[in-house]
Amino acid sequence: MKNNQYIGEGWKHAILIIGALVVLLPFYMVVSISLKSQQEIQSISGGLIGAQEVQTFPVCTKMGMSEKTCTMKPYVYNYWFAFKKAPIARYLLNGLFVTVSIFLIQILIALPCAYALSKLRFYGREFIFSMVLFCLLIPVHAIALPLYVMLAKVGLVDTYAALIIPWTISVFGIFLMRQFFMTVPDELIDAARMDGMGEYSIVWKVMLPTAIPALLAFAIFSVVAHWNDYFWPRIVITGNRDLFTPPLGIREFRGGVDSDEFGPMMASIVTITVPLVVAFIIAQKRFIEGITMTGMK
């Protein structure tokens, strides 16, 4: 019996390891290509990191740099050239700016609304809540075209505003916060009112602190979604490189896949993907909670 169980466990691990290898295959490929030289990439040799022979890179010398600066190990060259070719730091900062702005505005708008919907009584409350429920059905990506037409009409295409505006209202955030606030006892709010707090301070000084766990989960959900979003930036950013978000930066590198060098391209992908993946590995539990939170409602 006991032996049998061990065999069963062994089989399970065997299946899961094969699965894990398939899942990790593209990650391995990106990291490996970002380290190797072009010849090694094209002949699929050199294993994960390649031989790392010091060499002079022709693409680099063609750009007018001296032979000495262009002689280095492949992995150094790939990452150095990736940063040289595109303002990756700028893309990352754009990504950070856009995702953080979106999150802050979402909270600024959703939190008071959720508070009013759960704790204040006023005419039309039920109607507004059913409006929220209806809007939950609408995926913003699906209405990208009319949104684009509207933004184009007011001349906002190719601006930070265009990247942020469609996401300022998160009905999901309102819904989530409302459900959360429903569980906050009324006595807490009454006590705050007795102390002479106005409704505004109640929202930000009483309700906000109680909602931190839900907010954190929502933050992760929101930041991950918008950091990785490619569809919307692709539509509203048509040419201005200064506004590129990380996925658009990756896309730009992909431009000339057949002529270009693959090492620097993959190096840029690694650089752009790494921040989120590292954050995920460090705070795994929170991330999984935050991203699957949509399932817990």
Partner: protein, 318 residues
């Protein structure tokens, strides 16, 4: 409950934005879809249902509906079933479950666009690991397993693998081949989505009370399969419904992989709806027809969610 006028300032901005950003665009798309409006043209005419007629009669749009349906109908069942199997396997492990969970969840986290490019390289006909792995396996154990030679009805000299080996390693050009492209894109979709479903199922599994399994055993459900049928599957009903709905809605919206890998080709075999909206509406400036596709798309998504809510209310009560 408290009476106050503060609510106007609390609810006002949200309601206004909901209207401008979510509700008005739907009406706008509906309106545009009955015209011949193009962004840039100042005038337009009402042309009734012409755009919709085009959509359901022209070959391109028929292909679009086929590609979208294929994608959804492949990715949803596979990513749900694989997600469930992975969750059940992990749940029964003695050790190591957390590592697998992290690995399987990585694709959900990583930027899909970047990963699409990574897959493009992995599946590249000459530089990719997949085809070189296949080519190196000619005549060996890989050919036996992946060529399905172990199935009694497969003739080992006629398997797809053997034929490819014979023809100078003529393995599929995964993304460039009309017959393979849509399946390859589906595969990437499943690869990306199943980890998310797995995590939802893991949460669902932990909420099943242990006693139910003991009770099932008392009733004679001894084998794992019988216990699964009697306890696990019914108890996971609500999770499954949710997982199916959210995966379906997401699959309908597939765009990143298509745009970067196939651009809807070869010969429109991967021309999914979101890509069609993008290509027609943004790149070719055919706003009206793209608006019609948008309307159909939104109707699909809303019907689907209503269907889910209906089923939840009717059936999934335990």
């Amino acid at each position: 409950m408290h009476y106050s006028r503060a609510h106007i300032w609390f609810v006002g901005p949200a309601v206004l934005l909901m209207f401008i950003i979510l509700i008005f665009p739907i009406l706008l798309a509906g309106g545009i879809s009955f015209t011949n409006y193009n962004l840039g043209n100042s005038s337009f005419e009402w042309i009734g249902l012409e755009n919709y007629e085009k959509m359901f009669s022209r070959k391109t749009y028929i292909k679009m509906i086929w590609a979208t349906a294929t994608y959804v109908l492949i990715v949803v069942p596979f990513s749900v079933v694989i997600g469930l199997c992975a969750a059940m396997l992990l749940n029964s492990l003695r050790f190591g479950a957390d590592i697998y969970k992290t690995i399987f969840f990585l694709p959900v986290m990583a930027t899909l666009l970047a990963m699409a490019i990574a897959w493009e390289f992995t599946l590249h006909p000459t530089m990719g690991l997949v085809n070189s792995f296949l080519a190196n396996g000619c005549g060996g154990i890989r050919e036996f397993i992946l060529g399905f030679h172990w199935l009694p009805w497969v003739n080992s000299n006629e398997s797809w693998y053997h034929i490819a080996c014979e023809n100078n390693n003529d393995f599929p050009f995964w993304l460039k081949d009309r017959g393979y492209a849509i399946w390859t894109v589906c595969f990437i979709g499943v690869w990306q989505a199943f980890g998310f479903n797995m995590v939802l199922y893991l949460a669902g599994l932990t909420s099943i009370p242990r006693e139910l399994y003991h009770a099932a055993e008392m009733d004679g459900a001894k084998s794992t399969w019988e216990q699964f049928k009697l306890v696990t599957w019914p108890m996971l009903g609500p999770t499954t419904l949710f997982v199916i709905t959210i995966t379906t809605i997401r699959s309908f919206q597939v765009f990143d992989t298509i745009e970067v890998l196939t651009k809807g080709g070869p010969s429109k075999s991967t021309y999914v709806m979101m890509y069609a909206i993008f290509e027609k509406g943004i790149q070719q400036n055919l706003t009206a027809i793209a608006a019609a596709i948008t309307v159909v798309f939104i109707i699909f998504v809303i019907l689907l969610t209503f269907f889910q809510r209906y089923v939840i209310e009717k059936r999934v009560h335990y």
